[in-house]
Amino acid sequence: MSANTSIDWKSQVYDVLKEYDIKHMVYVPDAGHSTAIQKFESDDQVSSVVLTTEEEGIPYLAGAHLGGERGVLLMQSSGVGNCINMLSLQSNSRFPLLMLITMRGDWAEFNQWQNPMGQAAEAALNLMGVLTWRADEPQQVEALIRGAATMAFEGDQACAVLLGQKLIGKKDWIK
């Protein structure tokens, strides 16, 4: 057993975000985020908000920030494309924005319909001024979320951590 596999990165996501005083967790569900979603939903100090589309999360978190509170947007890479114009809100008003994005279409992907947006997600975020980091190993996750949260909340930046398919494990398609 290597040290890597003993790191419970899925629980670390919740623990680290709590350290940064996250009060709002807004999301479109993904299996890779299921542990964090479950922990936040059972935390009565945090508002958990299920979205119909990822772009709703950006103005929501802007509003929460105007009210003095921090939040995080959890979604899958396919949702990045849904957010593009809405990111103009962040860049014009310099709202802090922290996104955690589970990847599809970047490694061992069985469904090629995920590939176009999965392959374009990081570049698309960068085009809109979002700073990005990728985690492909369990030991990278905690430090990258800490770094992104620091730059989002201390420096009013838009920041995204991409959680790669190598990290999450390839999706098993079981009928």
């Binding site: 709002h24 979205l51 929460a64 009210g67 509170e69």
Partner: protein, 193 residues
């Protein structure tokens, strides 16, 4: 000929009368000009873009500031771009949020093309069907006053469609500097920048 329809500037001015510490979010285009015309205020957040974002920005603000009334004033076109937000907001159901849709049935900013509401879609029925506590379709001044009282009561999630004259009125422009608008609201709410 004088129209019997409500006039947008008058409606917004009446709605914001004695607003106290209500927080106001405006959708891009004419609603931003209407709120500016009623009197600029540090507690206004004007959108100039991010179409479809006004209602969700209001939701985030309402959840973070439960002791303030939060009023979203937007247009039919902007809200049509956020149909899913009706459902997201209804699930959260904050009792301090009021969504006001100034409905002229047209896209005013782009040459008055007819919108979906101009083709008969009633957004107050959408709000009602997803479970907003109180919904209304308003076409007279008494209705606007009822809405104002509802908004200040902070006892229900409200959505009102106000049917207004489509006549264009002069633009009264708020600042387009998003950072300035953001920071002055945060300061007015006692936050450290």
């Amino acid at each position: 000929m004088t129209s019997s329809l409500l006039q947008r500037r008058e409606v917004v001015s009446d709605l914001l009368q004695d607003r106290g510490d209500s927080l106001v979010v405006t959708g891009l285009g004419s609603p931003s000009y209407d709120v500016m015309a009623a009197g600029d205020n540090d507690l206004n957040y004007y959108l100039w873009g991010a179409m479809g974002g006004a209602a969700m920005l209001g939701l985030g603000l309402a959840k973070a500031k439960p002791d303030h009334s939060v009023l979203v004033i937007t247009g039919d076109g902007e809200m049509l771009m956020a149909m899913g937000a009706f459902a997201t907001i209804a699930v959260q159901c904050p009792k301090n949020l009021t969504l006001v849709i100034l409905d002229n049935g047209h896209y005013g900013e782009t040459g008055m093309q007819k919108s979906h509401t101009g083709h008969g879609i009633e957004l107050n029925k959408v709000a009602e069907s997803v479970g907003f506590d109180w919904t209304a379709r308003i076409d007279n001044k008494e209705g606007v006053q009822d809405l104002r009282h509802k908004m200040h009561a902070r006892g229900s999630l409200n959505c009102a469609v106000i049917v207004i004259d489509a006549a264009e009125v002069g633009r009264v422009l708020p600042s387009r500097d998003g950072v300035y608008i953001k920071n002055r609201m945060k300061l007015a709410l006692g936050q450290v920048l």
